[in-house]
């Protein structure tokens, strides 16, 4: 981390105790924490656009390390539409050998949680929805440049995501939560940002769920959040029988700014839906790992390397050109990588056709998603190689204009 932000002490402790897992599943790289007794049905935390798996470390520290629940927090992987999200998340659950889940989703994560509950009703046992929404229409309207998200350079995407976080004088805990999230946004790659923004504008809405409303808790903050009140009200009205665990204050990231209240509500929710904690199984340091990296230091280095790559030459940042760092550790990854490579080759040949098809490619299946990534890199390559020419010509033009003016 290059910024002035210094990691809070409890976060440093968390990183020393809880290993970060990174596994490739299909074409997607999953980055997640999984801590607590494996016999307990897990609570899975899904972050919003500006979040990573790390933003829920205070929940893991309380619920997994003290109370005895299994908490999994994930990064939303690079998926480009909602169908792909559902399929990818299901594959992830299969890969970590989890069948039933409780979902805690904030902002975009809450929306994705509902979509998953709608399409895979048998897997989702309960929902905690925090500052979230039922449909993406208004976000799409607010982001007219949405079709160009996947061509937008990283720094612009970052700036866009960061401007969504409310600025201004905050009370200290909220200010700290904002700092933490901003530091997490800094770690996100361009593709990750682009994929999340694409998900918030990809046209979709949550249809009625099979899940009984008594298994839903709505945990909105009552002071402010990036999600307009109107959308939150709409969600409240959709689930009139849901439990309302409103927090008076907390801003956009109550899991960081009001961890004790959020943890209390999460426990009350889990108890209400009949999930028992296993305090006698609380482990201090895990000895196992479901296919994750050997140590967190390695993972951290990987991530930092990635960042450097992103900053240096964005055009090289594609999944094909960078074999996943943790691939050698994972037995299932080889086949998948090969498959991915062959997909890439096929699309390389088809490139001319793909260019024409590009605008609709995002809403298609994984194959075209892979092609999309490849194509995007090509696009970027062109843009970046043309850029100097363009600047040159501008310079020449302005020089000439200036000379012309002098002559006149």
């Amino acid at each position: 981390m290059k910024s002035v932000f210094s990691a809070p002490g409890d976060y440093i402790y968390f990183k020393s105790q809880v290993p970060l897992h990174r596994i490739p599943i299909g074409t997607k790289q999953w980055r997640y924490y999984d801590f607590g007794p494996k016999v307990v049905t897990p609570l899975i935390c899904l972050p919003g656009t500006a979040g990573t798996a790390d933003v829920y470390y205070k929940q893991i520290m309380c619920l997994s390390m003290k109370v005895g629940y299994r908490v999994i927090s994930v990064d939303i992987p690079c998926v480009w539409n909602h169908q792909e999200w559902i399929q990818s998340f299901e594959k992830f659950l299969d890969a970590i050998d989890v069948h039933h889940i409780h979902l805690y989703g904030t902002s975009l994560g809450g929306f994705l949680a509902q979509l998953f509950a709608q399409h895979r009703p048998r897997r989702v046992k309960s929902l905690i929805l925090s500052n979230t929404f039922l449909e993406t229409r208004s976000f799409a309207a607010a982001m007219p440049w949405a079709p160009f998200v996947s061509w937008t350079p990283s720094f612009l995407l970052k700036r866009y995501v960061l401007t969504g976080i409310r600025d201004g004088p905050h009370e200290p805990f909220i200010a700290d939560s904002v700092d933490f999230v901003v530091s997490q946004v800094e770690t996100l790659s361009r593709d990750e940002l682009a994929s999340r923004l694409t998900l918030t504008v990809d046209s979709a809405s949550v249809k009625p769920l099979l899940l009984s409303e008594s298994f839903i808790t709505i945990m909105d903050t009552n002071d402010y959040s990036a999600i307009p009140q109107q959308l939150k009200d709409q969600l409240s009205e959709r689930y009139p029988g849901a439990r309302r665990a409103y927090l008076k204050t907390g801003g956009d990231f109550p899991f960081l700014s009001r961890p004790d209240e959020v943890n209390l509500h999460l426990q009350l929710h889990l108890r209400r839906v009949g999930l028992e904690a296993q305090p006698e199984l609380v482990q201090s340091i895990p000895k196992d790992g479901t296919g994750g990296g050997p140590s967190k230091e390695n993972d951290k280095e990987d991530r930092d390397d990635e960042q450097k790559d992103n900053g240096g030459n964005p055009e090289s940042n594609s999944e094909e050109s960078q074999p996943s760092p943790s691939a050698p550790e994972s037995s299932e990854s080889h086949g998948l990588d090969e498959q991915l490579l062959s997909n890439a080759e096929i699309h390389f040949i088809d490139q001319k056709d793909s260019i024409i098809l590009k605008p609709s490619a995002m809403s298609m299946n994984q194959h075209s998603a892979a092609a999309g990534i490849l194509l995007r890199s090509t696009w970027e390559f062109f843009i970046f190689s043309l850029l100097p020419l363009y600047v040159d010509s501008l310079y020449i033009y302005s020089n000439n204009a200036w000379k012309l003016r002098q002559l006149v």
Binding site: D223, R244, A245, K248, D260, R271
Partner: protein
């Protein structure tokens, strides 16, 4: 935009006798001795959401942690009019609340006292008279007093409306 924002009031119920929902106590597991429910109250053309936290008298609330009483707008002290000890303990509960919640203005923090279970046994087993309770309330800065029965719902709405009014008085135009 702000006009649509709901007024959220956090109410904490303390006392030897659980009040809001007796069935809570059966669900209590060792970990958290508390639960809450939400109640919508309307007055002055405004809608209030009361988040009412109850311990069912199960635990000394120090063990519940800050989260339980942070941001409380009102504290309801409950006693059972049929049990003298529950009345005697009101003072302890009040003082403990003020220590734990440490409100900015403890002198004027809104409390409400409820004498509960007035309907039990037709009032024959009653040992705490209304007069006695009111005298105590007066000595603590005119705390409003209500006699209720959760079972019959007697006076409950009046009590909640008072709670809302009280809480509002304490922070008049604060942005919630």
């Amino acid at each position: 935009m702000a006009s649509r924002r709901r007024m959220l009031l956090k109410v904490i119920i303390l006392g030897d006798s659980g009040y809001v929902n007796r069935k809570f106590s059966n669900q209590y597991k060792a970990t958290i001795g508390a639960d809450f429910l939400t109640k919508e109250v309307q007055f002055d053309d405004r809608l209030f959401t009361l988040q009412i936290w109850d311990t069912a008298g199960q635990e000394r609330f120090q063990s519940l942690g800050v989260a339980f009483y942070r941001g409380a707008d009102c504290c309801v002290l409950v006693h059972d009019v049929n049990v003298m000890k529950s009345f005697d303990n009101l003072n302890n509960w009040r003082e403990e609340f003020l220590i734990q919640a440490s409100p900015s203005d403890p002198e004027n923090f809104p409390f409400v006292v409820l004498g509960n279970k007035v309907d039990v046994d037709g009032g024959n087993s009653r040992v705490v008279s209304e007069k006695k309770a009111k005298a105590w309330c007066a000595s603590k800065g005119n705390i409003p007093y209500f006699e209720t029965s959760a079972k019959e719902g007697f006076n409950v709405d009046a009590a909640f409306e008072c709670i809302a009014r009280n809480a509002l008085k304490n922070e008049p135009e604060e942005e919630m």
